[in-house]
């Protein structure tokens, strides 16, 4: 095979791949395919080999395991958290510097003495005019409109569980027995159990918008792992809602992980066959993800 032949064959590869080749070269290649045996052989090999890979693409592709997908999401969340903390400490430093500069001005005796008198008189007047000074700052009302939100409900239920305000209706470590209990209590969708390294404690049935829903409680060591499992249809019909951002992540990456703000609780959301599941626990994200396996039973 001389260099010319090699060059022709490589350009033939471009032709087969639909890449650009100069019009005159293209024409020459097409003409030579009829008369040049070696070029024809090259065409046969290149085309057949390309086609077999394209045809077997699905079989040759290897999907990222779910635990790796989860780990990546955790890494991104941690990265985001670290960024926020960096921004926060920068902000604190700036604020501290400004505070010191202002303090230096107000500590000058010519300003500090009259200011102290003004503050004292104002404080006295405000205290006496306040209609209910003991309650003025005792309660901060934060409005939430998420009562139909699955995650919101899951958090609340977990809090109730932790505080001892709810207890199991069925205490069992047997999955079949618990499934039978759910069925008897009117849960009319199939319930599935995740593969989780935690001991089943039992379950509870609740009713929401006329639908009986299944709740599971597991224990990992001395930590509760609460799981709320609802049919996907309830989400699709908007009988129950999920934060659009969270559902978008579940759609893309199968799992949505979250650390509850202001606490050490962790929430994970994912689809288990025909159901949507949410686990809430006071384990850390890495601890919880280590417990959950990708298969379900």
């Amino acid at each position: 095979m001389n260099y010319k032949q090699q060059e022709l064959e490589e350009n033939l590869t471009s032709l087969i791949d639909g890449e650009y080749i100069a019009p005159n070269l293209r024409e020459e290649l097409l003409n030579r395919l009829d008369s040049n045996t070696e070029l024809r052989v090259a065409h046969t090999i290149q085309t057949a080999t390309k086609n077999i890979l394209i045809n077997r693409k699905d079989a040759l592709s290897i999907n990222a395991p779910l635990d790796i997908q989860m780990a990546i999401q955790r890494n991104l969340a941690n990265e985001e958290l670290m960024n926020s903390e960096e921004h926060s400490s920068t902000f604190k430093q700036t604020f501290y510097n400004a505070y010191n500069a202002i303090l230096a001005i107000f500590l000058k005796p010519v300003i500090a003495f009259p200011l102290g008198i003004i503050i004292g008189i104002s404080g006295y007047l405000l205290y006496n005019q306040s209609p209910n000074n003991s309650d003025a700052f005792s309660y901060v009302n934060i409005t939430h409109n998420g009562n139909d939100n699955l995650c919101f409900q899951a958090y609340n239920n977990f809090h109730s569980l932790e505080q001892g305000n709810l207890s199991l209706q069925k205490v069992t470590q047997n999955k079949e027995e618990l499934s039978r209990f759910f069925k008897e209590k009117g849960v009319n969708y199939p319930v599935f159990y995740p593969e989780i390294d935690a001991e089943l404690q039992g379950g509870v049935v609740s009713e929401y918008k006329g639908v009986k829903l299944a709740h599971f409680v597991f224990k990992a060591g001395d930590k509760f792992v609460y799981m709320y499992e609802v049919p996907n249809q309830m989400i699709e019909n908007h009988n129950l809602n999920i934060n659009p951002k969270a559902i978008e992540i579940v759609n893309k990456a199968d799992w949505y992980w979250e650390k509850e703000k202001g606490s050490n609780n962790t929430m994970v959301l994912w689809r288990l066959k025909s159901n949507m599941c949410s686990i809430v626990t006071n384990l850390r994200i890495d601890q919880l993800s280590a417990l959950i396996h990708v298969k379900e039973s």
Partner: protein, 223 residues
Amino acid sequence: MNTLSVLEIDKFALTNEEINLDTHSKVQSNTLMNSSQSKQALFEQEALPHMNALYSFAVRLCRDRDDASDLLQETFLKGYRFFDKFESGTNCKAWLFRILKNTYINQYRKDKKEPDTVEYDTIEEFYDLIRSESSESTDLQKRIFDNLLDDEISIALDSLPESFRTAIILCDLEGMTYEEISEILECPIGTVRSRLHRARNILASKLIKYAKNRGYDTHQYEQ
């Protein structure tokens, strides 16, 4: 609470309006948080859909799933950290593949003992086998290649020298153009073309050998 007892269903009421939870609805007032959140959202939108393709490529590069998992995680972390360098609207997939390939070269490949050489003898031998025959590619494919098992094709693909393996995976499995491949592999388009040509020749020779070992009639492709 160490033990749970059976109590009333109503205790498990799901309407807890009075409980204040700071989970989803609280508006972030910090503009820095907002900008970083939009970065995260944009990254998830642009990058996460390519996770399986990247993992598949990583497994083929490392030939070890544990290494591939680490490589994939590192790729996404680097991608996220440098996402502000990525120009929105351009080819995110190619950008991530390039990060993965460079990370592999810098951190994973140095431990692998692989002679990255061309098996010219194999190519010539194969050419000699079928040079004098006039067979159509559809015939070769139907008679020989289509009967091969997925595992055989996978093993043959994995056995290619790395530079050829990467080129053929990016072109034929990932459907990338020569320009995209040249950006990922950081080599001229002519080199991409040459590697693809040679990669397919070597792969074809390996596949023919598999078919022959399994008793398929390959005499039409032999002298």
